[in-house]
Each structure stands twice: as structure tokens, then as C-alpha cells.
Amino acid sequence: MRNLCFIIGMLLTANSLGAHELTPTYPKFKPSYVGGLASTEMTMFNARKDVEFYQLGVFDAEWNPVPFASSEKLLHVPHATRSTFDVFIRDEDLRRAVYICTLSKLRSDIPSNAIISSKICSRTDGTR
């Protein structure tokens, strides 16, 4: 049974289409060089061969969008590359912002017909 699980695991890993990763899990905002704004640095790694673009979003605890600024809101992260970016939030929105998320943007020409979209969210208000 163990051997069977191992073989299945190996087969699944071999067929892996790739991974989506966002760090850190609990980012901390600090005052930025622009007055009235706080910023934090995030890093994304894309190992998905079928995805090159990721949408960046900031949300409150009820998943309502929170205004933010970044160099790009649609991140271009080619396969097997890492992208580091800053997220800026107004001081007045700092207590409201809870989640920073990246969502994969899928191309319409992916050959499979049950496609997987991935979304990872870090939490800005720290651990519970």
C-alpha cells in the first residue's frame, strides 16, 4: 500500500503543472517615503507554466476592496521567476486592510476544460 501511495505521489508530482507562492504570510506595514502612506514588501514566485499574470488585491476582513497602490496591479511574473513588489496603503486605511492577495489570471486558450485558478492571501493584521 505504501509503495502504491509513493508511486501515485511520484506520478502526481511528475505531472505537476506548477505552483503559486506569496510571502510573507504576515507582512508588516511601515511608514513609506511618501507622506500619509505606509508600505510593505511582498514577494511572489510563479512556477505555473499555464499562468503569467497575477492580479493584486487588498481587502478588509469582510472581503471588501481597500484602495492601494503598487507599481503594477496586474503583475507579470513569467514561469519560474520571482517578483518583489511594494504595496502602499493610506494611513487612514491601515487598520481596515486585512488581506493582500494575488489571483492567477487564466488564458482562454488553456487546453484543459476544468481549469484551476489559484489565489493566495497574506494577512496584514498578524496572527490571531
Binding site: 501511495c5 501515485i8 505521489g9 502526481l12 508530482t13 505531472n15 505537476s16 503543472l17 506548477g18 505552483a19 503559486h20 507562492e21 506569496l22 510571502t23 510573507p24 504570510t25 504576515y26 514577494t43 505555473r48 499555464d50 488581506y99 487564466l106 482562454s108 488553456i110 484543459s112 476544460n113 476544468a114 481549469i115 484551476i116 485558478s117 489559484s118 489565489k119 493566495i120 492571501c121 497574506s122 494577512r123 496572527t127 490571531r128
Partner: protein, 165 residues
Amino acid sequence: MKKPSIYAAALLLSVSASAEEAVIEGNVLSKCIINTDVNGVYGNPSPDKLSTATSDGGVQSVIRYDVALADSYIARVITPTSFSTSPVLNDVVYWDGSTSVGEVSDATMSAYDTNKVTYEATTEFDLTVAGSTWFNVTSVAEYGYNRALPGGTYRAIVQAECIAK
């Protein structure tokens, strides 16, 4: 003639040795990684039905979650409730879906299936153990009342989320 060729060979070797240096980079941080191991395929077991279930001739979607820090993330899998691509459909589509734990890297993760929370098309798993968990996702779409689905390409999207808690 021999000496210059030895010098040339030595020079070439020294150059190739420096050119073969490779940098391997990695991060060890608390994080969640979503691996799309298998995109599913809909089988068409009857004229009015599309299904990724193996018994219906389909291929289940398989998503692996790797968590480096225990009890820090919630895995949320949302099965499709509409097609992202399809021919024009004049009748309603009834959707059904399920997500279950497949393989696990730690035996205690098998409790995820018992403790999962399901609402509408969403299934939530509390990732309380560090390691890898494979989730199998099944999606079923049935068209109208015994009406045949029009010919064409059908695509639907499974959403896999990893939310820090």
C-alpha cells in the same frame, strides 16, 4: 606544436569551469504554496451531462497545498457554478461538486476530511498540520431536463484559495 595545444586546452578548461557555476536560490519562510497538479477533464457519460468523476470517464482536478507553518492557513476550494467557455445554452445548467482529501504527507491530515466545512460550492479545510495535502475535486454539470448539451468546447474554473488566518 604539442606545448601550445596543451596551453590552449588548459585555458579552455579554466574558462569552462568558471562558466559552469550555477546559483541555486531558495527561501525558507512561513508560506502556503498552491500546486495545480492536474487540471481536470470533463467526461461526457450521457448527452446531458459533463463530469470529471472517474466513473463518468472524466479526470478529477488535483490540487496540492504545501504549508510550511502549521495552523496558519485555510484552504478554500470553490467548484464551478458556470462555464467560462461554452456554446450558447438556452436551458439551465445544474451544478454539483465536491472536494475531498486525497494523499497526505502526515497521517494526522486525514482528519481534514472529517472537519471540512462545506457551503454552496465552497469547501474549507483548516490546515492545522505543516506539510503537503492533495485535494481531489469533482465537478458535475447537467443540462436542463434530459436535454442534450450542444456540441462545442466547454470549460469551467475551479478556484483554489489559501488564506492566512
